[in-house]
Symmetry: C2
Subunit: 349 residues, 2 copies
C-alpha cells in the first residue's frame, strides 16, 4: 500500500510523523512508545491494553521510524555494497539479478559501483561505501586490493585475502566437460582463449584447462593460445585476437572461448575470415548468457549458474554479517549445454 494512498481526502497529506508526535497523541513518552514498538525486553512490563493502543496508533498514523536516526543509533543500515567492473554484459546482469532478489526479499538494499578496473576508483568506492555504512561487500569479478574491514563475498574472484569467501565455479569440471565434448567430436587441434589479465577468473580457468588437457592426453599448442586484452562487455572483445589468429593459422578445428560474449565476437571474426562455424571451426562459449541460445548458430557453452551464484553470494554475505563463519570457497557446478556451434571435426584442407 502506498503511503500517499493513506491520506484521506479531508486530511491533507500529513507531514511525516515522528516518534515524539506519535507519543504526544498517545499521551505517553517517546521512550515507552519505542519500547513497545520494538518489543524491547522491558515491554513485558507494559499492559497489553496499552501496547494495543500504541500499535493501533502507529498503524493509523502510518508511523515509520526515521531511517537515519535509527541507523545513527543502532549502527545497522540494511545496506550492502556491490563492486562490479561494469554494469553491462550478460554476465554481471545475471549475477546481479540473483543478488538483488535475495537481498530485497529480506529488506536489504545495495549500492552499486563500477570501477572499470581502475584501482584508484576501486579504492575510492570501497571507502565511500564504507562511509555510507554498508554492512558488507560483494565483489563481482573484481580483484580486491586490501584486506577488508567488513564481511566480503567475492563472485568469481580467487582472491585469497583472509576473511573473504569466494563463490567459484568448479573450473576443472568446466574444463573437463568442454574438452570431453570436443574430443568426443574428434577435435584435436583446439585453440584456446585466455581471459583478460584483470579478470579474476582468467588464470584459474586456464590452469584448469591445461591440467585437464594433460589428463585427457590432449596437447595444447602454445601458438593456438590467444589472449584477450580489451576492457569491454561487447562481443568486440573477442574479435581482433581471433581474426588475427585465423589469418595466421587455419589448421585448428575448434575454439574454446573465454565467455559467450567473446565467443560471439569470435564467430563473427571467423566468418569474416571465411571460416564457417561450426563446419570449419567449432566454438564453445562460457556462461550461457540469455542470448547464447538465440545466437546464430546457437552457442554450445559451459553454463555457469550465474543467478544462483548471485543468490548464494547474497545469502552468504548476510549470514557473515550475522557472524556466521564460512569457508574461503563455495563451489558451484557448471553444465555443458550442447547447441549448434559445435559439431564433429571435419578433415581439414
Amino acid at each position: 500500500m502506498s503511503r500517499n494512498a493513506e491520506s484521506t481526502p479531508e486530511s491533507p497529506p500529513r507531514k511525516r510523523m515522528t516518534l515524539k508526535t506519535l507519543a504526544g497523541h498517545l499521551r505517553l513518552s517517546p521512550a515507552t512508545v519505542s519500547i513497545i514498538l520494538n518489543q524491547a525486553p522491558s515491554a513485558k512490563a507494559i499492559p497489553a491494553a496499552t501496547q494495543k493502543r500504541v500499535f493501533d496508533a502507529a498503524r493509523k498514523f502510518d508511523y515509520r521510524p526515521d531511517y537515519f536516526a535509527k541507523s545513527l543509533r543502532e549502527k545497522r543500515t540494511f545496506t550492502i555494497g556491490i563492486l562490479v567492473q561494469d554494469i553491462g554484459g550478460g554476465y554481471g546482469s545475471l549475477v546481479l539479478s540473483g543478488i538483488e532478489k535475495a537481498l530485497l526479499e529480506v529488506g536489504y538494499f545495495y549500492f552499486l559501483a563500477s570501477h572499470h578496473h581502475n584501482k584508484e576508483l576501486l579504492g575510492k568506492y570501497n571507502d565511500l561505501l564504507i562511509d555510507r555504512g554498508v554492512e558488507g561487500l560483494i565483489a563481482i569479478d573484481t580483484e580486491l586490493l586490501i584486506e577488508p574491514v567488513l564481511p566480503v563475498v567475492a563472485v568469481s574472484g580467487h582472491t585469497s585475502l583472509p576473511g573473504v569467501t569466494s563463490v567459484v565455479l568448479d573450473h576443472e569440471h568446466a574444463a573437463s566437460s568442454a574438452l570431453t565434448h570436443l574430443i568426443e567430436l574428434r577435435h584435436r587441434k583446439i585453440a584456446f582463449m585466455k581471459g583478460q589479465p584483470f579478470s579474476s577468473d582468467s588464470e584459474d580457468r586456464f590452469n584448469a584447462i591445461a591440467k585437464v588437457a594433460g589428463q585427457l592426453g590432449l596437447e595444447i599448442d602454445p601458438d593456438l593460445i590467444i589472449q584477450l586484452e580489451m576492457d569491454t562487455s561487447s562481443p568486440e572483445l573477442g574479435y581482433p585476437a581471433v581474426r588475427e589468429l585465423a589469418r595466421r593459422r587455419t589448421d585448428f578445428t575448434a575454439l574454446l572461448a573465454f565467455n559467450d560474449i567473446s565467443a560471439i565476437g569470435a564467430i563473427r571474426a571467423l566468418r569474416d575470415e571465411g571460416l564457417r562455424v561450426p563446419e570449419d571451426v567449432s566454438v564453445i562459449g562460457f556462461d550461457d548468457i540469455e542470448s547464447a541460445a538465440f545466437y546464430n548458430p546457437s552457442l554450445t557453452t559451459v553454463r555457469q549458474p550465474l543467478r544462483q551464484m548471485g543468490a548464494i553470494a547474497a545469502r552468504t554475505l548476510l549470514e557473515k554479517i550475522q557472524g556466521v563463519a564460512f569457508p574461503a570457497e563455495i563451489a558451484v557446478q557448471p553444465e555443458l549445454i550442447a547447441r549448434e556451434s559445435t559439431c564433429v571435426a571435419s578433415p581439414r584442407r
Copy 2:
C-alpha cells in the same frame, strides 16, 4: 587513497574519529571545528591560523563526518532511487551505465530496485526508497502509479503525471527512418511487432509507426501485426509470436521488431520456419544493444542513444533536486544503423 593505507605500521588502525574527539585534540569545541570545516559564514570570524590547524588535524586523522548524523541533521542524502523492471537485458544495462557515470561523478549513489511489473512491488519499493531518504527517482521503462512526492525523471515513460520529466525518443523520427529504409528496399508487405502492454514505449512507438506509414502511403495489414506478451529480457520474447505468424502467413517481406532482443528471437523463429533472413524476410531491430552488431546476421536497427539517455536523466534529476524547472519531455534522436538483416525485397513465392 584507501583509508587503511592511512594507518602507519606503528599506529594500529584507529577507531573512526568523531568530531568530538577531533575537537578534543585541538582543544576546541566541536561547534568551532564544524564551522571551520564546513566554512560556514561564521567561519569568517576565526583567524586563519586556527583554521589551518583544524584543517591539518582533520587531514592527519582522516576525519570524515558520519554520514548518518549528517543526513539526520541536514536532510540531504546524496542518494537517488532507480526503478527498473528488470536488471538484465541490454536496454536497461546501457541506460543504467549512463546514469551511474553521471551520478558517481558528483558523489551520488543510487538504490536500484526491480519491480518486474508487479504493481504492489513497485509501490512498496517506492515507499522503501523514500524511507531511505532518496532525493529523487529515475524510472526506467516503468509506469508510475501515483503522483510522486519527489523529483522524478522517467526514461522511456510517457507518463503524464504532473511534475515528471520524461526522456523520450523522437518516435516519429524513429518510425520514419525505419520505414523509409524498408520502402527504399522496396518492401511493401511489412509485419509489425507491438511491445508488451506494460512497456511504456509500446503505444507511442506503434502510434508513430501508424502515423508515419500513413504519411508514406504505406498500408498496414492488421493481420500482420503481432503483439508481444512475455515478460522477459531474453530473445525468447519475440520467438513464439513470430513463429506463429510465419506459420500463418509467408507473404510479408519485412518485419519491424519491437527491440533488438525480440528481433533476435524473431530471426531464430523465422529460420526455424524455413525463412532466410534477410533474403526472404528483412528484420529491423530497435535499440542497437551492444550485441546487435555481432549477431548473425548483424542487425539493422534504430539506435537509441541509451547511455546518453541515462546520463541526461541523471543530470536532469540532479538539477530538479536543486529546484530547476524542466519541461515534461526531453526528446533525443534515434539513428538508423543499416547492417545485414535487411536487404532489397525479393519477389515472393
